[in-house]
Symmetry: C2
Subunit: 404 residues, 2 copies
């Protein structure tokens, strides 16, 4: 205790000593000519024997109340494929070298794992590069080929947009795609919903009117927002009516950070209340969620865009001085999204697929008459399920057994 | 432009001028003796006329490309209940005074709205105060009384735990409760699942074994984690077997912040990878989610706890130096949760309801024999849906029409 107190007066010396102590807590392993280090505590925690790891549950089986944080090896031996450790308490662990290498703490190894297994790196785009971003896939090929299914989901995760073509003319056609990934995300609008003009203006959503839909993210008032929007075009309106605008909100956020840094800061700092109140199928809902327009994760990377004109609450939970400057930043964001948005008109048989945590989408107005009808079938998928399916396919197609 | 450049050399003076300019952008309204201010831009944005606001969709209907950020009133008049504004472009708006007061930007008004409408304030507890935290509700009363349904959801949001008693002896009994709120959250385990010992140790989850379940949050590997866990006890094991431990992770997080600030910091800063790989009903899943054990929102308030021994990945996405200190903090967190956990054994007919983003729950081991069976029916609800139902009931029971 006295020594620790004394050392606190010399933080640098203390640092050196701590580092030295920790350095002794690593096991060095030679794998294909590379010297890799693994902390003792991590190695013991990840012992793969049947007592410590449950094989069919793919889960750690250690009783943590018995776990020794200061665990040390008594004996270490290595052959061509395996490192064997006998710990001080006599417990024996064995690690495959390629299993260890896959989990190495080096920056290079981490980057490979992140991109191969965790999540592919996103690429932003604007209307000029939309051609590269917008890939087209065939409905039946997605259903029958693991490779095409993988490619579709990979592309979607990188660019946030894609088009599935040659979809059967049925309001049940979406189901097979949803099931191929996992299951639809349920919301108060149901597991699926129909976008069609309702009679007499009696709607619980402005999406069910033929008026122009300004750029927006869907269901911004959900904390657990729908990850991906799928819009199956069954019947399309004539001319420019019902055409879509698509904007990469991440591109515009990056643009604002560079060109309008103060307004960007307002959009990442100011929490807005997103709101939806109504009745669907006789059941009331009253959704509120507060978040900024531009959301960042712990690594200061973009993680979600919220944007809606109609579904922004009249209640604004900020200090009054913050109101006017925020409106200006919000308007700049919308103007830039309009400026960089791509134009796309779907045909019957197309499913437009959009990353709803990243892209804004809008729709032209159309004339709703008996001879000019428009009908879409909509559903949502969660990113949790999309990444899960993508990983299963990656492991299968690339034979990545070391993941287990 | 030159003036603005010149002013930048005098940030304080610029500040005073900006404040003065903004001050002129408020409308002052006298409501029941109180002088309230509302920004012009906010008032125009929230015009409630039929052209600007769609009544049945409860949504703003303004075309933002036509919106004037520098909008000013030409004429303002006020009577006992209403403020009328004619804007410079001739557009007319009318606001009810109580509608405005409800949306006032004063700190007091905001606090009232937050607690009444947005989300009730949480109260933390430990095993000594568990008696206050754990309220009991009757199954049938929740189904027939709006007031009891409201009280149950309100209590759940404040304390994160409750017990529903006198549930019918059927694996469908949960359905009515789920439907009363909204609908179950779907996961790869289905909309509902059965917790029962599987034969021959062939399980895809350690929860389906009779061994002790250490304190954990459910499905920590979901980014969009299940908000609330409902566990309907249909058949219970004898003695202490199958009893639950319940700990308020928020209480322990606060405790660590105070008593172990450095370890607390590691638990809020270090992202861990949570993982589940397996097959359910013949369909593969591979879930990964990275997050710290203790998560804070933008206001530095607790927002979610992630904790699991079995579902923590063998892949650890940190610098190697961060590994050993993190294990120590993780262990302290578990020890404190065990220390402050309450003991509860459910009886057949009980539904244990737990805020899964906040509480950790565990289970004693039990002997699984033909004469000592244990069977629970499980399901999840999302907080988005729970708060939505709670708000609908609050508005109805308190006649809060000003919300619309």
């Amino acid at each position: 205790m006295l020594l620790r107190k004394y050392l606190k007066s010399f933080p640098k010396l203390q640092n050196v000593l701590t580092q030295k102590r920790l350095a002794q807590d690593y096991l060095k392993v030679e794998v294909t000519g590379e010297s890799l280090k693994f902390p003792h505590v991590w190695l013991r925690d990840n012992c793969q024997c049947d007592a410590c790891f449950h094989r069919s549950a793919n889960s750690r089986f250690i009783d943590w109340s018995q776990f020794d944080l200061n665990v040390k090896p008594r004996d270490v031996s290595q052959d061509a494929n395996t490192v064997k450790v006998i710990w001080e308490d006599g417990h024996k662990s064995s690690y495959q070298l390629n299993w260890l290498k896959f989990r190495s703490f080096t920056p290079e190894s981490r980057k490979t794992y992140d991109m191969t297994i965790y999540k592919p790196t996103k690429k932003t785009w604007n209307k000029d590069t939309f051609g590269e971003a917008m890939a087209k896939f065939d409905y039946t090929e997605i259903l029958v080929s693991d490779e095409i299914l993988h490619n579709w989901l990979y592309h979607l995760s990188v660019y946030g947009v894609s088009l599935i073509q040659n979809t059967p003319d049925s309001d049940k056609a979406l189901d097979a795609i949803l099931e191929k990934v996992a299951f639809p995300k349920m919301t108060h609008y149901g597991a699926k919903y129909t976008i069609q003009t309702v009679a007499n203006n009696k709607t619980n959503s402005v999406a069910y009117l033929p008026k122009k839909l300004q750029l927006h993210t869907d269901l911004s008032y959900y904390e657990y927002g729908p990850g991906v929007t799928l819009l199956h075009c069954e019947v399309q309106a004539e001319g420019d009516g019902g055409a879509n605008l698509l904007s990469d909100g991440y591109y515009v956020a990056d643009y604002m950070k560079q060109h309008h840094p103060e307004q960007y800061k307002l959009l990442i700092d100011t929490e807005v209340e997103w709101r939806n109140i109504g009745i669907e199928n006789g059941i009331e809902f009253f959704k509120l969620h507060r978040s900024p327009v531009i959301n960042l994760n712990k690594h200061e990377e973009l993680s979600r865009i919220h944007f809606s004109i109609p579904q922004r609450s009249s209640y604004f939970p900020v200090n009054i001085e913050a109101v006017a400057p925020w409106y200006k930043a919000y308007t700049t964001f919308l103007e830039l999204n309009n400026q960089y948005a791509a134009y796309l008109k779907t045909d019957p048989g197309d499913i437009l697929v959009v990353d709803n945590l990243r892209l804004l989408h809008g729709r032209n107005s159309y004339e709703d008459t008996t001879s000019n009808v428009r009908k879409l079938n909509g559903a949502f998928l969660d990113w949790d399920e999309i990444y899960s399916r993508l990983r299963c396919l990656t492991v299968k197609l690339k034979n990545l057994d070391t993941i287990y």
